[in-house]
């Protein structure tokens, strides 16, 4: 592909994809473990969900750390640097916030 479009697209949106993967995994696991076919005693497995959340947070924190140079020179940074940095920050906040219910909510109903 001309001018590394896919590669650049991935760099700019990877944190959002991590957010999406984390959200999908958490929602599906919680939903499946509350269905008649795969009902789990005590409700969804919060330990597994917590591990997934911690992993997603680590990945996004690392992606943000990798782009720290952009935060120092934000005025001169390219759109792609901005996309990589800001999306990592937004995804980090998103995962942190979406993961909060794990600390407070348990069971299916």
């Amino acid at each position: 592909m001309h001018d590394r479009f896919i590669r650049q697209l991935m760099r700019g949106t990877l944190p959002f994809l991590v957010w999406g993967a984390h959200f999908t995994f958490c929602y599906l696991l919680a939903a499946v473990q509350c269905t008649p076919a795969a009902m789990r005693d005590g409700g969804p497995d919060r330990l597994l969900l917590g591990i997934a959340t911690a992993l997603a947070l680590i990945v996004c924190a690392w992606l943000l750390w990798r782009e720290r140079g952009m935060l120092r020179g934000a005025q001169e940074a390219s759109l792609l640097d901005w996309a990589a940095g800001l999306s990592a920050l937004l995804a980090l906040i998103g995962i942190l916030w979406t993961g909060m219910p794990l600390l407070m909510v348990q069971g299916c109903a």
């Binding site: 479009f5 650049q8 959200f23 916030w97 109903a109």
Partner: protein, 838 residues
């Protein structure tokens, strides 16, 4: 390629004699009744915008009828049944026939000029999408005059809409009518994605691309992933109604919640599909109005992408009262709040831009300020209803009606009116009256708030939405009367706008110029051919930062100042750096898209009223219209290379992944895969509700049937790979036909295996789930039959060659996709029960 303002201009003067005249002749728009065969984005865009506004007025009239009915308690103006039809049609027409179409319509009209392209990459597809929508939409609307309109609410929840509780044709009109109109929205999205990524003016890198184009790119991608869910949902509900396949019937293992998931997986992103184009327009208009660069441009672009992602995690906040698990709801609630962050980034950036510049209080500026006020209020109530206990209290009350109208009218209608004031001068050079504009704004703004703010209170007082009347003793009458008065003031504002718009458009044409001193390319001198020459872009705000650009473009000093091949064409550029890659030859005007659209609309609507013979005649007309339209495309170009600038020669057309048609096909297949995923989800959802899978009395096919079906699919793809290497050889069509035989045999084997296992899709939702997956594969085999025979015919007629092989590569893509889909279906259907057993 370097893009520097100090470089000499791409083409030197003087231009050859007759060059400009030939360009005009090739792009000439037909006049009189032949205008309707025109496929140019300017013609189609204007028709599209006009039709969408017509639906806005029609659905608005329905709203006024509802408001009159609710103005006083115990009113008997409208019967309960008619009221049900009216509110269903109001919501459906506003969402499906006004909101989505108008954002696509404005993009079809504006984007090519804003990007410096001569047209969108698939002009006939735009024309088809428009006519399918217009014919289908108008016929659908007419059902209200015959008492045949759907009456289950705009989100058509079963069991209200199941055969048992909605036995007439009303629900079918919604399912078939809206289902296919969504296909036209997807066609528009494909057009926009390929257009934005591959036809930008040389030098317009992704960084320099207008924020509006970014917004439309995000929106078009969202359409690709969101709309398939509702298309699959409508197909499932129609299968249930027509053939008694019980996807949503609890007594046979179905689940009405399945519909809610599918509908809202489309329905919530759709709110942002409507809002983001408006946000893009706002980001384009605000710098002009403030006379300064957009603050936080890069942050806004990232925020747009972020909203696009987050919006897919919010669907179930419409389902907080449907009995979902508490943890699932909490995830959705948190995501619903998180989306406020990227949205907030945009709002603060707009405020900062206005703060930074000198705002001229014109009509567009007023509408933009009105938008911010109303939308922020709607956003705040949105965060309120994202809080689950609060939502439980106000769910299905007028509080929600108030919230959704603050979001949709504030977030979309006000920016669209700002856009109409701002961009209408592009049509004939005439601007709408500023004086009248102020009246229109204050009537719409005041009327809106008077109509909808009291609904927050009536909602909190407990008034449920969709009730056709209420008791006088409930104390809701004064607030309802206020809402009715407000709605009429709002409507009067719209009426004054229409009168002013008609008056303005009847004035004689004059030079457009750049009346707002805007920085974006749509204000370059343009006609049906776009700009005389395609500009070289070296800055974010070209009309501000590239002095003399208008004159240079008009004199033909930039790229492609005429027609290089004697046909319609534009320059295809690379997606990131916008480096010229090839000359894209575009199709010309034709009646075929219109005929195909008429056939498609006729097929779906006549199918609804069970006029089977006529429906199938229309279906054949649609297929033949499309086949003839495609038959004219993908021909060997008259020359291999052309000069588009003094020092730039480009090849004519491209093949494989470099061509626009390859990308168009790939995006279509992504849509296809998403629809298939939704069908698979229906099967998984039904399975997860079982204690034993397969359910008692049901079974799955024996292994040999599955291996046979899978093996034949792989063989068919192998034969197509071989066919791809046989270009110009006599064996090519025979390989394709053999591959077709393998695909068909595979499907029949799979079907036969299930028949032997006793599959009865009417017996349970689980069996219906398998039926759905099988039926979707069958549909693909039917498509391959048409595509395979078509490919063979093209070979025999000599229309396949090294410079005209798009048909071959696109048919191959569809073929391999069908193989993958078939194998995925077989694996899912047969492995899931094993996993559940384990």
């Amino acid at each position: 390629m370097k893009h520097d303002a100090s470089l000499p201009l791409p083409n030197s003067l003087p231009r050859p004699e007759g060059e400009f005249e030939r360009l005009k002749e090739v792009w000439r728009t037909p006049t009189g009744w032949r205008f309707f065969k025109s496929v140019n984005n300017t013609s189609i865009g204007l028709l599209y915008i006009g039709t969408a506004l017509l639906f806005f007025i029609l659905a608005g009239i329905l709203a006024l009828v509802m408001r009159v009915q609710l103005a006083v308690p115990d009113n008997t103006l409208v019967s309960p049944g008619t009221y049900n039809q009216i509110f269903t049609m109001h919501g459906t027409v506003m969402m499906f026939l006004f909101a989505i179409p108008i954002v696509e319509a404005i993009a079809v009209y504006l984007l090519p000029n804003m990007l410096g392209a001569r047209d969108l990459p698939f002009p006939r597809l735009s024309a088809y999408a428009f006519y399918a929508y217009a014919f289908g939409g108008l016929a659908f609307f007419c059902t209200i005059f015959f008492g045949l309109s759907p009456d289950g609410g705009w989100f058509m929840y079963p069991p209200y809409t199941s055969e048992q509780y909605s036995p007439g044709l009303n629900a079918d009109f919604w399912l078939l009518g809206i289902g296919f109109i969504e296909i036209s929205a997807i066609a528009g999205a494909i057009e926009l994605i390929v257009g934005i990524l591959f036809t930008r003016a040389p030098g317009m890198t992704l960084r320099r691309m207008p924020v509006y184009a970014w917004a439309m790119l995000v929106v078009a991608i969202m359409i690709v992933f969101a709309f398939p869910a509702v298309i699959a949902g409508t197909a499932l509900l129609e299968l249930e109604r027509a053939f008694d396949w019980p996807y949503f019937l609890v007594e046979r293992g179905g689940d009405p919640i399945l519909w809610q998931h599918l509908f809202w997986f489309f329905g919530h992103p759709e709110v942002y599909i409507i809002f983001l184009p408006a946000a893009g327009m706002v980001s384009t208009m605000i710098p002009t109005i403030a006379g300064t660069k957009l603050v936080g441009r890069r942050a806004i672009i990232v925020a747009l992408v972020g909203v696009g992602f987050f919006s897919f995690g919010l669907w179930a906040h419409h389902m907080f009262t449907s009995g979902l698990g508490v943890l699932e709801m909490s995830f959705i609630s948190a995501a619903s709040m998180a989306v406020a962050i990227p949205t907030g980034i945009q709002v603060f950036a707009w405020i900062a831009t206005l703060w930074n510049g000198r705002v001229k209080m014109s009509s567009p500026a007023l509408f933009l300020l009105g938008f911010m006020f109303i939308f922020v209020l709607g956003g705040l109530t949105g965060v309120m209803v994202a809080v689950i206990p609060f939502d439980w209290q106000v769910h299905d009350t007028y509080f929600i009606v108030a919230h959704l109208h603050y979001v949709l009218i504030g977030g979309m209608v006000f920016p669209v009116f700002a856009a109409l004031y701002y961009w209408l001068p592009l049509v004939k050079g005439q601007a709408l009256s500023e004086k009248v504009g102020r009246w229109v704004f204050w009537m719409m703004f005041g009327g809106f708030n008077l109509a909808f703010f009291p609904m927050h209170i009536t909602g909190l007082q407990g008034m449920p939405r969709r009730v056709y009347t209420y008791d006088a003793q409930l104390g809701w009458d004064f607030l309802n009367m206020l809402s009715t008065v407000g709605s009429f003031i709002f409507a009067f504002g719209v009426l004054v706008f229409i009168v002013d718009a008609v008056r303005t458009l009847r004035r004689p044409e004059k030079e457009v110029g750049n009346p707002w001193n805007a920085p974006t390319l749509e204000w370059l001198p343009s006609e049906s051919y776009g700009n005389r020459s395609i500009p070289r872009i070296t800055s974010d705000d070209p009309l501000w930062e590239q002095p003399g650009l208008s004159e240079q473009v008009e004199r033909g000093q930039h790229y492609l100042p005429g027609t290089a091949t004697g046909m319609r064409e534009t320059i295809a550029t690379s997606p990131v750096s916008a480096t010229p890659r090839y000359l894209m030859v575009l199709p010309t005007d034709s009646w075929l898209p219109l005929i195909a659209a008429l056939g498609t609309a006729g097929f779906f609507l006549l199918l609804t009223v069970k006029a089977m013979l006529l429906a199938w005649i229309c279906g054949i007309v649609a297929v033949l219209g499309t086949v003839f339209w495609l038959w004219e495309s993908d021909r060997t170009p008259p020359v291999d290379e052309v000069r588009v600038a003094d020092d730039l020669v480009l090849p004519v057309n491209a093949t494989g992944p470099a061509s626009q048609s390859w990308w168009g096909t790939m995006i279509t297949l992504i849509v296809d895969a998403c629809i298939f995923t939704a069908f698979c989800y229906a099967y998984v959802h039904a399975s997860m509700r079982l204690m034993v899978c397969p359910p008692p009395g049901a079974a799955l096919p024996e292994l040999p049937w599955l291996l046979g079906a899978g093996g034949l699919l792989l063989a068919s793809s192998g034969l197509m790979l071989l066919a791809g290497r046989s270009l110009g050889k006599r064996r090519l069509p025979w390989l394709v036909l053999l591959a077709l035989a393998c695909s068909t045999a595979s499907f029949l084997l799979d079907l036969r295996g299930h028949q032997f296992a006793g599959l009865d899709p009417t017996a349970s939702a689980w069996a219906a789930g398998i039926g759905g997956v099988l039926a979707y594969q069958g549909l693909h085999v039917a498509i391959l039959t048409i595509a395979g025979v078509y490919l063979a015919l093209r070979h025999w007629r000599g229309h396949l060659g090294p410079r005209s092989q798009a048909t071959l590569s696109n048919v191959s893509l569809i073929w391999h996709y069908t193989t993958l889909q078939g194998i995925a279906g077989i694996v899912l259907v047969n492995v899931l029960p094993l996993l559940m057993e384990a």
